[in-house]
Symmetry: C2
């Protein structure tokens, strides 16, 4: 039995606009669902107090409840980063992205579970589609909260695959925008050259509306605009890691390509250039070197409060020589240029969001293999939900576009999502 | 009467190595000087407790006391960012750069005064060379503490000119290394694409030793190595802002060039390419757009606790359209490539660190005009002390090298410093 039942942010806005509902009623309904349903999922680590009677935030997100990954500072709620080192730690101000959400009228329903410092040690969250499976990580609670319909939107971060992978495993839309389109300030850094703030919502148009409201970039909002695959050149990104994807994922990928082609797109095979294969291999060097640096204070003061998994990773990161790190940075720079060049041959790339569906375990959050590269290059990436494996578990596909073309990424994602829904 | 009397980090190491002193004795002497002398300067906002009896940190910086700009997290000391919003705020862990300093054996003597959130509103620090003058900012206390000999080293940050300018005004060596050579994690972000951690010490070899110890990059340490200008191609960086520099600064610049030439260097006139003029003009757009974003949470929750100067800047930053910001980012990327190309024609650039000597005021921290560009491009930059105006006030010159050539920057800076001292 699935507990997945996402709530569309845009449907909420339509209910309010038509007078069928009010922001207060929407906030209350969401809270009720979340409080009742979360014990089975564990998406939240703490709930905020309801807004005081009579407070009526306005703006494009009025009535929308969001979940905030517990790696983002919140002034009204402890921010624990998934670690006992930060038990009850209370920041003085909201992280900019949280402040932007409130400014746009959204209310923060609560803080969502994160793996320890957004690395790989799982938190207690379960996948709403099958509670014996991981929701993915590290933005585990944010993806699960949206999938379970506890909130209409959620904030996450990605350093390797922490937005796109949980979005895929939980069957919701996830946006990892172009590097620094959304501020990561006030989110605890792990690897600053990679850390990227991202968003979750029920569907691609929902996440686009959320992104537009949080970034003051109206062009990201798709609104009611009709979108079409006609004339779109879709690059099927072929690389040496493809054989790691499961058969069900390959089928979904083939299906998606065929559906887009039937919708008027032109397909192109894009073979991974060596610069990008090298860049993917360099990503862990950047992540671990910077991670060991970022958490040095915690390692020195509270080593006993870190998980063995994280300790080991940070130790290996601390053993990387600065010269190797510098080489990895150069490889990354070369990779970014190579990524830009890909889009001379196509408008978007289509590729798996993960190896397959969510693994049947709560001891691992799955593998970010297919996400690492695009976090490093900084290209915008959206997870398109709507595909399923034989067990009915969600499979996600990624649409990637040129750096700065977030609006195109979202529109192409919406096209695919809508064509799949119509089939 | 000058209160300037910097203590050399390398001289301290020699005293300890020779057995003439001990780390304990050095730490005690520094503390005594600082506690006695700081009321006249105001470099520190708080002192740490002395290390407990019997604790003996070892490492390359054993015995060295450092000042930490109060924008870096410290687990044993409040971190207030120069703002009443953070009164008594106490982080759970040290910022990585602070942790690295302790790991290398240094002890933190205290937190040094910063302008409000490292922007332009002055703090109470005075210039040790003339207490009626600004020490520069935003790393005001760090530069003044080193100049007054209260510590042998100090940590700072630079978003426009906050390391190089106060180093120049206080007559000490300042290093703004290549972007991300030192971690800014755990320092409150203002503009993440610009924020750069930097260092202060008495002389260039001192700051090189400090940089090597904090970054695990032995090649940065100059040690006793003989350095020479022979064969060095020195680019005199000529741009449209040069006429803003005062006559005394032009003299110092000319002197420095002649001294280097007499030492065997070859001089080359490098005219600023338009890409770099554009990049300098784009820097404030990046700084203010990102600053308005970074401090949105503080602006929403505690507007009454921000200075009018900062409020106005953040308001103007908040009014910048995302499309203008995106254009500024592109201009910056183009500028970075143009900066790299300059070093096909020379080994280092030589240019003013500031318009002139420290202005005779405590109401302003001076103008970062000559520093903005190199913060944006991320090139390594060292302030070389040793020049004076007619009043005996320090004038600083900047040596800039290609991205990643921090070791060269430091060596060239040491050459100039030593040639000036010998004249």
């Amino acid at each position: 039995m699935t507990l997945a039942d996402p709530r569309s942010l845009r449907a909420l806005r339509r209910r309010i606009a038509s007078g069928d509902s009010t922001p207060e009623r929407e906030r209350a309904a969401t809270r009720e669902r979340a409080v009742a349903g979360d014990p089975a999922i564990g998406a939240f680590v703490r709930f905020a107090e309801p807004l005081p009677e009579g407070s009526a935030p306005s703006g494009p997100l009025a009535g929308v409840s969001i979940g905030v990954k517990d790696i983002f500072d919140t002034a009204d709620l402890a921010t624990e980063h998934g670690s006992p080192i930060y038990r009850d730690a209370r920041p003085r101000a909201d992280a900019p992205l949280v402040a932007a959400a409130r400014l746009a009228g959204a209310s923060v329903l609560g803080k969502t579970a994160t793996t320890e410092f957004a690395f790989l040690q799982p938190c207690a969250t379960r996948n709403p589609h099958d509670t014996e499976r991981t929701p993915g990580g590290s933005s585990s609670g944010s993806a699960a909260a949206v999938a379970a319909g506890f909130v209409e939107g959620a904030l996450g971060t990605q350093t390797a695959g922490s937005v796109i992978r949980p979005a895929a495993f939980c069957g919701v839309a996830g946006l990892k925008p172009s590097f620094r389109l959304l501020p990561t300030t006030g989110a605890k850094p792990f690897a600053p050259t990679l850390d990227t703030a991202g968003l979750f919502a029920a569907g691609v148009r929902d996440v686009a509306t959320l992104a537009a409201a949080l970034s003051r970039r109206a062009d990201l909002d798709i609104g009611e605009e009709e979108v079409s695959a006609s004339g779109l050149v879709v690059g099927l990104y072929r690389s040496s890691i493809d054989d790691r994807a499961e058969a069900a994922m390959h089928s979904a990928w083939d299906d998606a390509a065929r559906i887009l082609e039937q919708g008027g797109a032109r397909l192109a095979d894009i073979r991974e250039p060596p610069e990008l294969a090298n860049a993917r291999e360099a990503q862990p060097t950047l992540q671990l070197f910077e991670g060991a640096q970022s958490l040095l204070g915690e390692r020195m003061r509270h080593p006993e409060l870190l998980s063995p998994l994280l300790c080991e990773a940070l130790e290996s990161g601390g053993a990387i020589e600065p010269a190797s790190y510098d080489r990895a940075r150069r490889t990354a720079r070369i990779g970014r240029r190579a990524a830009t060049a890909l889009f001379e041959r196509c408008d978007i790339l289509l590729l798996p969001s993960a190896i397959g569906a969510a693994p049947r375990t709560l001891q691992s959050t799955g593998d970010p293999l297919f996400n690492r590269l695009w976090t490093l290059t900084g290209n915008p990436c959206v997870n398109v939900p709507g595909f399923r494996d034989a067990d009915g578990m969600p499979l996600g596909l990624s649409v990637v576009a040129r750096f700065g073309r977030d609006a195109l990424t979202l529109r192409a994602g919406a096209v695919l999502e809508e064509l799949v829904a119509q089939r």
